[in-house]
Structures are given as C-alpha cells and as structure tokens.
C-alpha cells in the first residue's frame, strides 16, 4: 500500500529552538556529579589564573611603562632615570626572531613536505619524525649549551664574537639565531605536516590527472593549500623564540646594548652580541642584578602584549582558514 504525499505546505506552526528537556544532574551518580563539579572548577580556575597574570602584569606595566623606555637605549648609570630604556633589547628580540624563523622556515617546510609527500623508505621517515620530536623535547637550556659547544669551535669563529687573543666566545646573533631556529622548528614542522595530511588525496590526484608532476603539484596546489597552516606554524615559532631566555643568556652574550663585531656593516651586528626583552627582564628583576624592577615590569608587559598579539594572530588565521575552505587548521596547539 502506498500513500500519496501531496506537495508540502509551508510550515505554519512555530519552530522550536534550543535543546529539549535533558536529564538533571540530580539523578546522576555522586562520582559523576563530583567529576562535573571538578571540570567546572578547573576550567574556571584556569581562567582566573590567566586573568590574574594579565591583570597584574598589565597593572604593573601601565604603572611603569613610559613611551620613552621604548625608544631609548640602555645606558650605564647609577639612578633609575640615567639607565635608559630597552630599545636595544626590543631590536634584539626582533632580529633574533627574524634570524630564527629565516632558518627554521625552509627547514620545517621541506622536512614536512618530505614526510607528507615522499616519506620513503618508511623507516627513514620514522627516524626523521622522532628526531624532530627529540628536538622538540629537548630543554632550551640544553640546546643552548650544545650551541655554545658548537659555536666555540674554531671552525665557526667567523660567526661569533672573537676575543683579541683569538679565543672564540661562540656568542652572537648568528649563533643564538641558529639555535632559536631549533626551538621554532617543531611547531612549524608539525603545523605544515598536519596541514598537508589534511589535504584530501583526490586533490593531489586531480593535479596529477591534469598531467602535472609531483613537484608542480606541491608548488602550485599543496603549498597554497597549507599557506595558513604555515602561517600558524610561523606564529607559534615566533612566540616561542620571543619567549625564550636560556639561549639568549648563553649564546647572545647578554650585553644590554647591541655590540658589533668586525667592520662589515650588517654582518657586524649579526656577529655581535646583544640582549632581548626576556634577558632584559631577567637582568633587571630582583632575581638577576635586581637593579630596576620597574623596568623589568615594563619590559615584561611589552613582552606579554607581543605574545598575546601573536596568539591572537594564530587564532585569526585558523578561523579565516576554516571560513574560506572548510578545512580546519590542525596542530594549532603545540
């Protein structure tokens, strides 16, 4: 027996929105109720901790930050007003970030491409992946120590600060930047690899089916597809470089001002030493020299704003990607 369904009329009754009736937690087992309460507590608690950090640092920062601090160089002095600002550490952070990312970007993208698109033999692929995991898991102070050992070799003398007697200090923007690239590499690699793996196989096949080589497919189809993943990885890498202290302390020489080495313009700065916001905060805090906690607060505030802004950028990239392609950014959190 069949029923004739006439063409449906437009719906007249009001549409419900929102969820229907659900079971009340009162009817749950006590352990489930306890777990729910704990979940709430932890979530809200984390928000409170984050808010406390931001509010306290914001309060201190605004209290001590003067526009002059951002544009004046640190100077030796005995009073607060004569020791200058943190222009040099700010520039140092920027320079170190640029060097680190410039080295990590090709390394990360190429290794992710190899893993995702070639990856043969598979034992080698496993070795490559676990090598990057080892780098990711190594504490930055260990990486810094290793970098110091490497860059103190006479072979690398041209890269760093050299004493007049010929002793290689192994401290320079180049040395610190090279080690910083190792810090930035894992998130960059992971974001790119996950993005490539999220590209459906038929997308590659479509390019092959148009008579394209694998290289042309990578260059014209895959890399554009994962552009926003790469951007996410870069931003995550930048925030790790900006926030790192150990490598700066060991490898950048910790001179508050940018000191040049040699006479070639540009290269002199790269071979020279300097400081970053993190080492500036450390030096000025009561834990370091303890000379100027106010300036430490101001610099820490600037640092925090920088990192928060970077996280905002990551978030924005992820959202715009989801909007435009329906693909989600994988590996957003490292």
């Amino acid at each position: 027996m069949s029923v004739y369904a006439p063409p449906s009329e437009p719906l007249q009754q009001p549409m419900r929105s929102g969820p229907g009736r659900r079971s009340s937690p009162r009817s749950w087992r006590w352990i489930d109720r306890l777990a729910l309460a704990l979940a709430w507590l932890c979530g809200v608690g984390l928000c409170l901790i984050a808010a406390a950090i931001v509010i306290y640092m914001g309060y201190r920062g605004i209290q001590y930050l003067r526009p002059g601090l951002l544009v004046s160089r640190p100077a030796p002095g005995t009073t607060q007003s004569s020791t200058g600002g943190f222009l040099d550490p700010l520039l140092g952070t920027a320079l170190l970030t640029v060097i680190g990312i410039a080295l990590a970007l090709p390394l990360g993208i190429c290794s992710a491409l190899w893993i995702a698109e070639y990856g043969r033999p598979s034992w080698l692929a496993r070795v490559v992946e676990s090598s990057i995991e080892v780098v990711a898991g190594t504490p930055d102070i260990v990486i810094a120590l290793f970098g110091l050992a490497v860059f103190q070799l006479n072979l690398f003398a041209p890269f760093s600060f050299t004493a007049s007697g010929g002793g290689v200090f192994g401290k320079s923007f180049l040395a610190a930047g090279a080690m910083m690239s190792l810090i930035a590499l894992p998130p960059l690699f992971a974001a790119t690899r996950d993005g490539l793996q999220a590209v459906p196989a038929h997308m590659r096949e479509a390019a092959f089916a148009l008579g394209k080589t694998r290289i042309a497919t990578i260059r014209r189809v895959l890399l554009p597809s994962v552009r926003s993943n790469i951007a996410t990885g870069v931003t995550l890498g930048v925030s790790r470089i900006v926030g790192d202290t150990a490598i700066v302390v060991l490898l950048l020489g910790e001179t508050l001002r940018l000191e040049t080495q040699g006479s070639l313009p540009g290269l002199a700065v790269l071979r020279g030493t300097g400081s970053t916001l993190t080492s500036y905060v450390y030096d000025n805090s009561p834990a370091g020299e303890g000379a100027a906690p106010q300036k430490a607060y101001a610099a820490a505030f600037v640092l925090m704003v920088l990192v928060l802004a970077l996280n905002l950028v990551v978030d924005r990239i992820g959202r715009s990607q989801a909007d435009s392609t329906g693909l989600t950014v994988a590996g957003g959190a490292v």
């Binding site: 479509a206 092959f208 089916a209 148009l210």
Partner: protein, 309 residues
C-alpha cells in the same frame, strides 16, 4: 516458503511470554532456515561470455583496451578486459561496489600507478600508442579526469582553469594569451555565464555543482581526447546532476567520455554504451538499450533489474 516456516507465530509468541519454554507436548515450531537453492549470482556459461562483443561505433576509436588485467598486491581487481572507446559516445561502467570499475577507469590515465602495490597486464592503446610508452604527464593531459568530490584548487576560478594550460609549456604564458582559452573551456563546461563577472573569485566560494563544472572546465581546457569521470554527480544535488548530465551529452561530440556510476538510472540517461563489470570481469558490453532491455548475461539482467548490488 509458506507461513509455517516462520520461527514463531507472533500471537503465540506474545501469549507465551518471552523466556518460557514451549509447554510439554506442544508442537515445537519449525526453525526457519535460509535455503541456498542456487547461488545468488549465477555463473556465466562459457558460450555466453562470447556474447560480450563490440557494438557498432559512432566515431573514431580513441582508446583500445586489450586483455587489461589489474591486481593489487597479487589480488586481481580487473580480469582480462578488452574494450574500445570511441569519440562521440559516452561509455558507462556499471557494476556493484568492488567490481573494479573505478580501478579500470584510473588505469586509463595510469593513476593506479600511485598505488605502489598495483600491477597491470595487457595493453591500453591511445590513438594507436601504448600508454605505457607515453610520459605520464603527456598521457594525463590527453586523458583527463574528473573526480567524485568536486576538488577545485585553492586559487581563483581563472587560475584553476589556467593551471592545466600553464605548465605544459616551458614559458609561463601571459594572462592575455590564456584568457580566450580559459573562457572557451568555461563556456564548454557551461559555467561561463555564471562566473563571467568575476573570474578572480576564489574557486572554493562556488557551489558544489559549479565547482564540479569548474573541474570539468579544468579537465577539458587542454583539449584532451578522452574524459574520464568517476561518479561525477554522486556528491551533487538533483538539479546540479541534471546540469552535468546534459553537459556530458554535449561533451561527447568532441571527445570520448567514460563515466563510472553507481546510479543505473544515470547510466541509462547519459550513456550510449554500457559495460557491466562484476568481480573484476567484464560481463557485458553493448549499447545502452541492449544492456538494459535485452541483456545477454543472467548476471547483467539481475543487476539492471535490481536483484543485487
């Protein structure tokens, strides 16, 4: 089988309660058994296999398959298929899932080579040349393919169509040189009128049906000889499907079209020739009317009548 073969009479079942054993002395109801009085699919007798024959063709032969067999890691997926594919006609490959039709289609542009375990026997001739001797990029420019999922590249509409044209030549052609070719391909794919205002729009902003027509435009832009389509409408709504089917009918004038489809009604609508495959065998090949209305093989008859699959 009569009603007495039912395991339990429902009324009796309710009356007795679920877990009660039958009362002593009561007749034990017969247990229902599935009787395999014949295999679900009859095996094709040898003389009937001869019925697989080449019907009258309508245009020049483009592709000729001679004893093509394909195996994945030694497991045969396509067994000794011989076919010829002509310009001016649409060939539909039909058959239940896993019958090898998609594998066969992907072999025609050697896309199965991307699967390391795949091996191929027999010969496939494209206009008299063995496709094994053609460079893969050359072959795939001549035998284009459209996929099940619309998969435009993450670039503009123009660049999607120009993508196929651009890297064939060493020198990167200018946009002014490409524009007439791109517009022509979009027009042949029936998409130009809808996108003419803004060819620089991202292709991913188009609707699913438009994306699939863009993929067709992209595939036919370099003027291929054969167009392979792997269930091109299965991700689309009925209206877009209708548009694409009409388009397939128009495209066959300039190239040979091979369509893999699960949808028998669609095969009936768009195809001039139908090849029915089952478990890797080419069971029947003939004109659409022959295969659907007067199939020679029992398996074909059962399949097109919906007995299995």
């Amino acid at each position: 089988m009569g009603p007495e073969t039912l395991l339990l009479d429902p009324a009796d079942f309710m009356a007795r309660g679920q877990h009660d054993a039958p009362a002593k002395g009561a007749p034990v109801p017969p247990v229902r058994t599935i009787v395999l009085d014949r295999p679900p699919v009859p095996v094709l007798p040898p003389d009937e296999r001869e019925a697989v024959r080449s019907p009258e063709s309508t245009g020049p032969e483009r592709l000729r398959l001679e004893d093509v067999s394909i195996a994945y890691g030694g497991k045969p997926a396509v067994k000794s298929v011989s076919l010829s594919i002509h310009q001016g006609e649409v060939l539909a490959l039909i058959g239940p899932s896993g019958c090898g039709k998609t594998t066969l289609l992907r072999t025609l542009n050697r896309l199965t080579e991307l699967t390391p375990s795949a091996s191929r026997g027999g010969r496939i001739m494209l206009d008299g040349e063995d496709i094994h001797d053609l460079a893969d990029t050359t072959l795939r420019a001549r035998v284009a393919m459209v996929f099940q999922q619309p998969n435009p590249f993450p670039m503009s509409i123009f660049d999607n169509v120009a993508f196929a044209l651009r890297e064939q030549s060493r020198r990167r052609p200018r946009r002014r040189e490409l524009e007439p070719l791109v517009i022509d391909a979009l027009r042949r794919a029936g998409l130009y009128e809808e996108v003419r205002d803004d060819l620089d729009r991202p292709a991913l902003r188009l609707s699913g049906g438009q994306q699939q027509r863009l993929c067709i435009a992209r595939a036919i832009a370099p003027r291929p000889e054969v167009l392979l389509m792997d269930e091109p409408c299965s991700a689309l709504d009925p209206i877009s499907t209708n548009t694409i089917e009409t388009l397939i009918g128009e495209l066959r004038r300039e190239l040979a079209v091979v369509v893999v489809t699960h949808n028998l009604a669609q095969a009936h609508r768009v195809a001039d020739k139908v090849a029915f495959m089952y478990l890797g065998d080419l069971v029947e090949y003939g004109s659409t009317a022959e295969v659907f209305d007067a199939p020679r093989a029992t398996r074909t008859r059962d399949y097109v009548r919906g007995a299995f699959g």
